[in-house]
Every structure is written in structure tokens, then in C-alpha cells.
């Protein structure tokens, strides 16, 4: 049986990780490569790098980070942020990433999903969705709206409709981020996650709101997510990946326990 995945997310700005981190280990906490290696050794099932650098001039730095990560980490990892064209995708994949994630760029130009899937295979293309609860209306029947530009722009697009559309265009996976839950550490948006997960035939990574292992348990079982994305909970050293996995394992969730 397939294991549920624990995916660790690193935000990278100008080649450095941005979140303050309390590691006991003697590592450079700003270096995404060293952090990635540590999480790899601690049992992360997958890593996600978000390039949150606004300007394109730093994109080469990100490619260099991806290349250095790929030399040391032998689990799948994806890269998102600033991926706007097929050429951007190609560079990231050739640098060693397993998958690329598109978010704003896919909303503005849905064809990028189709072209990416055709060029590299659906398994490479992750749709990142930033979603806000707005209440059900005629325009937004699910009550969840897609927002872009890092949560600043409302699009008028229904989240469930967009998820299905992305599947038909060839997306291989969805990384579903609830803007409402993000950063709260009070639990994932279970209703949204369940809604999307039950209505698309591709894996869903739930993102936003993890504060303790129970939250992760809930989203993987009650909300049927295939994977849980975590950031602060491990960056701040509140829990280790091992502690999270042991909790899940003891509650009967199949997770990868040997690494």
C-alpha cells in the first residue's frame, strides 16, 4: 500500500531560505542546500522549494540551488515560483528537480499546463492553488475562490472548477494551499482539502495550517489528502519529522519509516 507523504517546504529568496529556524545541528540555517540535506536525512519523503524572489535577475541563483540540492538529495523534489514558460520548466527539470509547480502563471495562461505535460509528462507538472473561502455564490459555487500573486489578487475562478480544469489540461498533482489556514498553525482546511481530493483523480498535497501531528493526521485521513506539506512546524523545531511520522504510524497511517 502507498504511504502518505510528508513534504517539507522551503521558501527561498535570492538563494537563501527565508524562515528563521531553530536547529540544534551545526548547519547554516540560511542555506537551502544544507537544510534540504538535513530534512532528507531526517526522513522527509519529498521537498518543495518556492522561489519567492520577486525579480527575474535572481533566477540563475535558484537554478544553482536546484543543481546543488540534486547532487545530495535522492528523493523527489519540486520547484515552484517564477516558473512562467516551458523554458523555465526545462531549466528547473534539467537542473535536477523531479517536478515543477505552476500557480499564478497557470491561471494567467492555462496552456502552460498542457504544454508542460506534453513536453515532460504529467507526473512533472504540479498545479499550485492558493485558495480563499468566500462563501458559495453563483459565480463561486464551491465557496472557494482562486487567488493569485501570492494571495493579493482575487480571480473570480472557482477552486473546484479550476482543479478539474487543470486535470483535463494534464496536471499530475495538486498542491492545495489554504490562504485562510496558512501560517495559523491551527490545522489544515479540512473541508476544502476533502472537496478537492475527492473530486480529482490525481494526488493532492494539502498545505497551510499544520501546527501539530494531529493536524497532519486529520488532513491525511478525514480530508483524504495524499500528502501533507509542512514548514514552520519543523523549521522552528517544534516537532521533528521522525516524531510526526511516529505519531502517524502509531495511529495506523502508513508512512515511510525506514530511510
Amino acid at each position: 500500500m502507498l504511504s502518505k507523504r510528508i513534504v517539507v517546504c522551503l521558501d527561498v529568496k535570492k538563494g537563501r531560505t527565508t524562515k528563521g529556524i531553530k536547529f540544534k545541528n551545526n548547519i547554516d540555517v540560511g542555506d537551502p542546500v544544507q537544510m534540504a540535506k538535513l530534512y532528507y536525512e531526517e526522513g522527509a519523503d519529498e521537498l518543495v522549494f518556492y522561489d519567492i524572489t520577486a525579480s527575474a535577475e535572481y533566477r540563475n541563483i535558484m537554478i544553482d540551488v536546484v543543481e546543488r540540492v540534486a547532487k545530495q538529495i535522492f528523493i523527489p523534489f519540486s520547484v515552484g515560483g517564477g516558473v512562467r514558460t516551458i523554458d523555465d520548466m526545462r531549466r528547473v527539470l534539467l537542473a535536477g528537480a523531479e517536478k515543477v509547480s505552476v500557480n499564478t502563471a497557470a491561471v494567467l495562461n492555462p496552456k502552460i499546463i498542457e504544454e508542460g505535460a506534453k513536453a515532460f509528462g504529467s507526473q512533472c507538472i504540479v498545479l499550485g492553488m492558493d485558495v480563499k473561502e468566500v462563501g458559495a455564490s453563483k459565480r463561486i459555487p464551491s465557496g472557494y475562490e482562486i487567488v493569485i500573486h501570492g494571495g493579493r489578487t482575487y480571480t473570480g475562478i472557482d477552486a473546484l472548477w479550476w482543479a478539474r480544469e487543470a486535470v483535463s489540461l494534464g496536471a499530475g498533482e495538486i498542491c492545495l494551499n489554504s490562504i485562510d489556514a496558512d501560517g495559523t498553525q491551527s490545522g489544515y482546511e479540512l473541508r476544502l482539502t476533502k472537496l478537492i481530493s475527492e473530486n480529482v483523480p490525481i494526488p493532492v498535497i494539502a498545505s497551510g495550517g499544520a501546527g501539530n501531528p494531529e493536524h497532519i493526521y486529520d488532513v491525511l485521513t478525514k480530508a483524504k489528502a495524499d500528502a501533507a506539506l509542512i514548514a514552520s512546524i519543523v523549521h522552528y523545531g517544534t516537532y521533528s519529522i521522525k516524531e510526526i511520522k511516529e505519531y502517524l504510524h502509531n495511529k495506523g497511517v502508513k508512512v515511510r519509516m525506514v530511510w
Partner: protein, 208 residues
């Protein structure tokens, strides 16, 4: 030198990087000559069987693989590489290399787990392998090791003795095959952390 076959089926650099990490020199090649000169051959790949077979034939690598196999060179097939060594694939009803009798099948749809929950296809993520026969390729692997899979089709050889590892996803399917100097697996050892690297290392040392 270890020849890593390039037949335009996906990104092969991750295999090279993993070999490099283990201290072995891999070379991505489309040359039949280099395949036949290599000590070992790795046959990786993601993508569709039909297109892969077309490319292999165009580059005459189909013959090179067969020659290398009959010469007794250690060969490792990964992902599409475990499917294409069989006689046929249900994917696009493609005639394949036929190094091993049998065929590549698609997962039945809909697919359910034991509790009746629907399973998504492709089978993507970490899953266990039950080793049903001994093989040097598993040396030193810890019990409970898991491996990274991404696929919608699985290999089904017609000779049971060839199946050395099986995996459960809605049904039990053969995930590792071994036949003479050939060993092939459905998962990606180069993306499967320490246990995956161990398998690659075992292959690099294997003397069939």
C-alpha cells in the same frame, strides 16, 4: 564505465548523479558501440512505451541491449526499463524487446484498496516491496524499506521464477524482476533515498 541509455525517455541526469554520489562513473549515451564497450548498462526511462520503442529502434539501441544481454553484461532496467524488456505492452499495444516472456499491463480501473477506497492512477509515491526471492541486488537492505514509484502500467512476466519482488497497490504486482544478468525494477532507485542508493550500489558490484 556504466552506460546509461539515452533514448529520449525523460531526464537521465538523476541516475548519473546517484552513480556519481556512489563513486561510479556513468555515461549517458545513444551509441551502440559505447553500450557494447561498457562494463554495465542501465536502462532507465519515464514516458510512453510506443515512443520509447520507436526511439530505440531508430538509434539501433534495441539491438545493442539484446547483444549486451546475450553477452552476459549486467543490465539494470528502471521504470519504463522494466516494462520494455517484456514482449508486449498494453500501452499503445506496443511490441517490445522480448528479453523476458510476458507483457506489460495497465492497472484495472476503477482500482480499490482492501477497505474499498478508490485508488488514484498513476501509482505515485512511496511503497514497500516484498522480496519473495533472494538476490544480490537486495544485499544489506533494511526490512521495511520503501521505494519511489510513478507509473500506470506494471510488468507481468509469464514465468513466475523471474519475479523477485512484489508490491501492493489495489493488487499485488511484480515490482522487481531478475533473469540471468538482467535485473529490473518498476520504482526509481535513484529517487528512493538510502535504500535506493543501496540497490544501485549493489548493482554496480554485482557479478552475475
Amino acid at each position: 564505465m556504466i552506460a546509461v541509455l539515452d533514448y529520449k525517455a525523460g531526464n537521465l541526469t538523476s541516475v548519473i548523479r546517484a552513480l556519481d554520489h556512489l563513486g561510479y562513473k556513468g555515461k549517458i549515451t545513444q551509441s551502440r558501440k559505447e553500450v557494447l564497450e561498457a562494463e554495465r548498462v542501465i536502462f532507465p526511462g519515464v514516458g510512453a512505451a510506443k515512443k520509447a520503442m520507436e526511439e530505440l529502434k531508430l538509434l539501433k539501441l534495441d539491438e545493442a541491449i539484446k547483444e549486451a544481454f546475450y553477452e552476459g553484461k549486467p543490465i539494470l532496467g528502471i521504470c519504463l526499463g522494466v516494462q520494455i524488456i517484456l514482449e508486449r505492452s498494453e500501452e499503445g499495444n506496443t511490441e517490445c524487446l522480448g528479453l523476458i516472456p510476458g507483457m506489460t499491463k495497465t492497472f484495472p480501473r476503477p482500482l480499490y484498496d482492501k477497505k474499498g477506497e478508490g485508488l488514484k492512477i498513476p501509482h505515485m509515491g512511496w511503497n514497500s516491496v516484498k522480496f519473495i526471492k533472494e538476490h544480490p541486488i537486495f544485499d544489506g537492505l533494511e526490512k521495511g524499506s520503501e521505494f519511489y514509484f510513478v507509473h500506470s502500467y506494471y510488468p507481468m512476466p509469464s514465468i513466475e521464477e523471474i519475479i523477485v519482488g512484489i508490491t501492493e497497490y489495489g493488487l499485488w504486482f511484480p515490482s522487481i524482476l531478475a533473469f540471468k544478468n538482467l535485473v529490473a525494477m518498476q520504482f526509481h532507485p535513484e529517487k528512493s533515498g538510502r535504500p535506493g542508493l543501496k540497490i544501485l550500489e549493489n548493482f554496480c558490484k554485482w557479478k552475475p
